[in-house]
């Protein structure tokens, strides 16, 4: 793994207009992914993680900030100008059933991007498709099938084969396994991990499901109300997170104890995520934080390094 940032997001801001009001989705977020690294992005519904992922790949234009891939700025480019960059980054969404073209064979779906850009002939493409399908754990002959003939898990494998067709360096996965059955999820994660090792793929793995992220991520970033509150290595985040929100979040993943006396207390974080429409000054988490002091209500904490590879946005950390 090299230390040069491969994808670098700086001070990303994005708001949406909802019923005439401004809804801030991402607020001043900076994040970088190194070559060959897998970064997990976790947070609950409405935390802004999907919007950030879409900004990273150029599907959503940020209001402010910069997105650099290999040092080249992506923000401000038209879709046409962005296309060459999509050879390096591909996205895998939650709902494969919708994303696949229903009247094209699986094989044609897989090489669609290549054929559309005239990078290969159809004949060459089909051979590539067959190889890719095998790599993602399907049969080469399933290239002749139509998407509706496949199960949800198989369709998601086709989506991954399709993303791999352009030989990207980074996959952005947005809840890529969340809609699948639990045993299929596990097999899917196996595939993602294998691809990471075999192809030195980087991931931006976005999910509300901490166990899935924990399996693949080298580092994990935690989002709350549009901000990143903590980033650290996976090991550290599960074992000793600093931010009070991360503590509650990671404690909610229950282990299988060795016996009944090793059970953890079920301690719930009180309250709910406040509405992003009326954000107050100060720390986004102060309304629910068990250790908040006056300063937390007035001054927004900045993300700062507290250790190698570990950053926290908390006045008290």
């Amino acid at each position: 793994m090299s230390l040069t940032p491969f994808l670098d997001l700086r001070h990303i801001e994005k708001s949406f207009r909802v019923r005439g009001k401004r809804l801030p989705a991402v607020r001043d977020v900076s994040l970088s992914i190194r070559e060959g690294e897998s970064l997990g992005l976790v947070g609950e519904s409405g935390s802004g993680k999907s919007t950030l992922g879409r900004c990273a790949i150029g599907l959503t234009a940020p209001d402010a900030g910069s997105v650099r891939l290999f040092g080249q700025e992506l923000v401000g480019r038209s879709r046409r100008d962005l296309r060459p960059f999509w050879r390096h980054m591909q996205m895998v969404f939650q709902d494969a059933g919708v994303a696949l073209h229903p009247r094209m064979t699986v094989g044609r779906n897989v090489i669609d991007l290549l054929v559309a850009r005239r990078l290969v002939s159809r004949r060459e493409g089909l051979e590539i498709a067959r190889q890719l399908l095998e790599q993602v754990g399907l049969h080469a002959d399933q290239a002749e099938a139509f998407p509706f003939e496949l199960s949800g898990g198989q369709q998601q494998r086709v989506m991954i084969a399709r993303a791999l067709a352009v030989e990207p360096k980074l996959l952005i996965c947005d809840e890529a396994v969340s809609a699948l059955d639990v045993s299929v999820q596990a097999q899917m994660m196996d595939l993602f991990i294998r691809l990471k090792q075999e192809r030195n793929l980087s991931y931006l793995f976005i999910s509300h499901n901490l166990p899935t992220v924990g399996q693949i991520a080298d580092r994990i970033a935690v989002m709350y109300l549009g901000e990143i509150v903590e980033v650290g290595t996976t090991q550290r985040m599960f074992q000793k997170p600093y931010h009070p929100y991360s503590k509650a979040l990671f404690a909610s993943v229950l282990p299988i104890p060795a016996n009944v006396s090793a059970r953890r207390e079920l301690r719930a974080l009180p309250g709910e995520m406040p509405s992003p429409f009326d954000l107050s000054r100060g720390c986004p988490f102060h309304t629910r934080c068990p250790v908040a002091v006056d300063r937390c209500r007035d001054v927004r904490p900045q993300l700062r390094a507290i250790d190698d590879d570990h950053q926290v946005a908390c006045h008290l950390a």
């Binding site: 609950e44 519904s45 059955d181 639990v182 045993s183 299929v184 596990a186 097999q187 994660m189 196996d190 991990i193 509300h208 901490l210 166990p211 899935t212 924990g214 399996q215 996976t234 090991q235 599960f238 074992q239 509650a248 979040l249 990671f250 404690a251 909610s252 993943v253 229950l254 282990p255 299988i256 104890p257 060795a258 016996n259 009944v260 006396s261 059970r263 953890r264 207390e265 079920l266 301690r267 719930a268 974080l269 009180p270 309250g271 709910e272």
Partner: protein
């Protein structure tokens, strides 16, 4: 808002004086489909004692949800209980008509489902819908119901319950709706609650809120719970006893402490190996290959045999009986030694 800290639950498993509130015997459920008959549940036994929290675990397709649905008479099109009993309050629920079951469902047996938050009627205030449980089952007058529901919502940590009573489902957050769901399941003070993946669709911290709330309130009221889940961590932290199901049969059954210390069935061990351990995030997981099958004929051998790394000829040919392996611990596997046997079943 109350601080939901839950103490370790009482272990009722050795208390023989407590008669089961629900006793399921040899339950067989099938579904008629265009392509044949699906053998979803193939002879399941279990009992729930008062105040006990029973966890039924397994993958989807293992028959765990169908078991609960069949007891409630909610099988839907093509589903039929072929044989077996579900004794509750001296009555066999399997024999009841739909009309008779309606007086039990929601009153004596409360129900919390995965997506029941969507089960609210969008055109009625939330409080009215919870109160309806009491009014429809003629437990009290509308006026009393109104008062009791507000007290109840307050107890469940729904702030400003008086105002919330009149709000519509879409005006509440997901977590609040789930709380309202729990309120409607428990407001009639049922003896037992059926909870089918009650936290699966929720965000992590909301999941924890709902679990803490549910364990807290059921412990206070002595309500028994039958919880269906695929999450071993959740089951391990809430249940008093575990039943592992696969292919519509019980694979393993034990009190929780025994289950955690001496997990035995290859399927149980497979589920554990496939579970993420937050204390060792680096440990590679080993998912069980394949998926739970749709059984279009009654299982002849062990239903898990096609996916089991220990399977031999006998596994494919003979259905293993559920046998006692240790005190109060039963396992259905040809390769596991019974308590008073020196050898496992002879393997031809």
């Amino acid at each position: 808002m109350a601080d939901f800290v839950v103490e370790a639950r009482t272990d009722f498993s050795n208390d023989v004086s407590k008669q089961p509130v629900l006793e399921v015997r040899d339950l067989v459920v099938q579904f008629e489909r265009a392509d044949g008959v699906v053998h979803a549940v193939n002879g399941v036994d279990f009992a729930v004692r008062p105040g006990e929290w029973l966890g039924i675990i397994g993958e989807s397709g293992s028959g765990k949800s169908v078991t609960l649905m069949s007891i409630l008479g909610l099988l839907g099109e093509g589903g039929r209980v072929i044989r077996g009993n579900a004794w509750f309050n001296g009555v066999d629920l399997v024999q009841l008509s739909d009309r008779q079951l309606r007086t039990v469902r929601g009153k004596d047996i409360g129900v919390v489902f995965q997506n029941l938050a969507e089960g609210f009627n969008p055109y009625l205030p939330i409080g009215t819908q919870i109160a309806e449980v009491l009014v429809n089952h003629r437990l009290c007058t509308r006026r009393t119901a109104h008062r009791r529901v507000i007290e109840f919502m307050h107890e469940l940590g729904i702030a400003d319950a008086k105002a919330r009573f009149h709000q519509y489902p879409h005006e509440l957050s997901g977590g609040m709706r789930q709380r309202a769901m729990i309120a409607s399941a428990i407001v009639s003070e049922p003896k037992v609650i059926f909870a089918d993946e009650p936290t699966t669709a929720l965000d992590s911290t909301v999941q924890m809120q709902v679990l803490a709330l549910l364990t807290d309130i059921c412990r206070k009221r002595g309500t028994a719970v039958v919880m269906v889940t695929h999450d071993l961590g959740v089951a391990a932290h809430t249940c008093d006893r575990i039943v592992v199901m696969y292919g519509g049969i019980v694979m393993e059954e034990a009190p929780i402490d025994e289950f955690l210390q001496f997990p035995t069935h290859p399927y149980t061990l497979g589920l554990r190996d496939a579970s993420f351990d937050p204390e060792q995030p680096d440990r590679p997981l080993r998912p069980i290959p394949g998926v739970a099958p749709v059984l279009l004929e009654a299982p002849r051998g062990c239903p898990f045999a096609p996916r089991c790394h220990m399977a031999t000829t006998v596994c494919r040919e003979r259905l293993p009986a559920l046998r006692q392996t240790r005190p109060d611990h039963r396992v259905a596997c040809h390769h596991v030694q019974g308590e008073n046997e020196h050898e496992p079943y002879p393997i031809p």
